[in-house]
């Protein structure tokens, strides 16, 4: 049986529930919103059909938007992140590598994984907060939100990846 058949729906459910019921109510230092559901896109395996990645990311975005009253914002941002994921991942791994590789610190190394996660999360936060604020009049707050949320989210992504490695 395909491993992704169980892993993806389970990860989808856990990350969505955690965001809706817990993390949507958290704000650190007045600017940083943890959004670890990007972990879902970050850990999509190399070689996965691109249409499936887009469909999964869009569905997760729509569900999160529905519960967070941000219609379209997370959907557009996650779809963008899913589209960029294979290209960003290719920057940090050798082309001769495993075609079915699931990105993590144990498969591509801690530093490349950290850089890969930071780049994807940063891009996600830039699109997310640009669409959410839809104005650069308060650009300082936009910068604070993007930087703060990226830092907190990357920290959570690294922690979740570390937990996954321990479990394996």
């Amino acid at each position: 049986m395909n491993h992704d058949f169980v892993r993806l729906p389970l990860l989808f459910l856990v990350l969505t529930l955690a965001q809706v019921f817990v993390l949507n109510h958290v704000q650190l230092f007045g600017v940083a919103i943890p959004m670890p559901y990007i972990f879902f896109v970050i850990t999509m395996k190399r070689g996965m059909a691109k249409w499936a990645m887009l469909a999964w990311a869009f569905t997760m975005g729509i569900v999160l938007d529905t519960f967070s009253n941000t219609p379209g914002v997370a959907a557009a941002s996650l779809t963008m992140a899913a589209m960029a994921q294979p290209y960003v991942l290719d920057l940090f791994i050798t082309r001769e590598g495993d075609g079915e590789l699931v990105p993590s610190a144990s498969t591509i190394g801690i530093k490349p994984f950290f850089n890969y996660a930071t780049m994807l999360t940063g891009g996600y936060c830039i699109v997310f907060f640009s669409l959410e604020m839809f104005s650069f009049l308060n650009y300082l707050r936009w910068v604070e939100c993007v930087v703060g949320s990226t830092l907190v989210t990357v920290a959570l992504v690294m922690a979740m990846d570390s937990l996954r490695r321990k479990k394996d």
């Binding site: 809706v20 019921f21 949507n24 109510h25 958290v26 704000q27 007045g30 919103i33 059909a49 691109k50 249409w51 887009l54 469909a55 869009f58 975005g61 729509i62 938007d65 529905t66 519960f67 967070s68 009253n69 941000t70 219609p71 379209g72 914002v73 959907a75 557009a76 779809t79 963008m80 589209m83 669409l131 959410e132 604020m133 839809f134 308060n138 707050r141 939100c145």
Partner: protein
Amino acid sequence: MRNLIEFLKKYHYWFLFVLLEVVSLILVFQYNNYQGSVWFTSANYLSGLTLETDAWLHSFAGQGDANQMLTERNLVLEREVTLLREQLFEERHRHDSTYVDKGITPGLEAYKLIPAKVISNSINRADNLMTIDKGRYDGVHPDMGVACGNGVVGVVYMSSRHYSVVLSALNFRSNISCTVKGKGYFGYLHWSGGPSDIAYVDDIPRHALFENGDTITTSGYSSMFPPGVMVGTILSKEDSRDGLSYRLKVKMATDFGNLRDVCVIDDAAVKEQLELLRQVTDSLKPQTN
């Protein structure tokens, strides 16, 4: 034709990507429309029900604090009403010895209060919204004011049959008319992001006299809120960007981080009265031919 099919096959995911982005952006822009759809918001039945269950479970933890806060606020208001009633009676009785106290609340009877519970609330976004468990079937409609025991909360943004989304006062688009209590100067309440207990009242005239600690209440100039609903207290003043007016930094009375019970203010009777008055005024105007 074959080449076209090959091209579409090769780059199908790009078309899917563009399609999904377009759908997402339509949702983003549609929501900016005031009468946007409730389907992709927490006002739809399924998400409303889920959030309601979550809020119900959470309410057990915070009920003690909320009750204590409401009791304290109730005591302060009762004391204030008693003092005002005594002052009013003495003042009227001085001029008219036959004056009988009939109460001072007939003006408030025109407003119907619809109690509701907050089932979802955000304070960490630029456009903070909350969801309440009352909708069109309960008489809640867009543009109605929402307040809690401590003060203003926001304005109803959209309603489904059983749920409504409220544009919180902590939203960049929120614009509530306020006044400095007892002084008569009025301005508009805005939130600029940051802490959830700090907001700003803009457009206060430069000749206005007030002190830090003075109370800000709703002005009653809009039909959403009756006059006198608590907003907060003045922390400091600063010049507006154009230098023509003051901008007051206000400590909000409402604890947006711990909001459970609210009331939707149904001013249908007031609107009807105003409409009737307008019609009478119009009909009495001299005809110009």
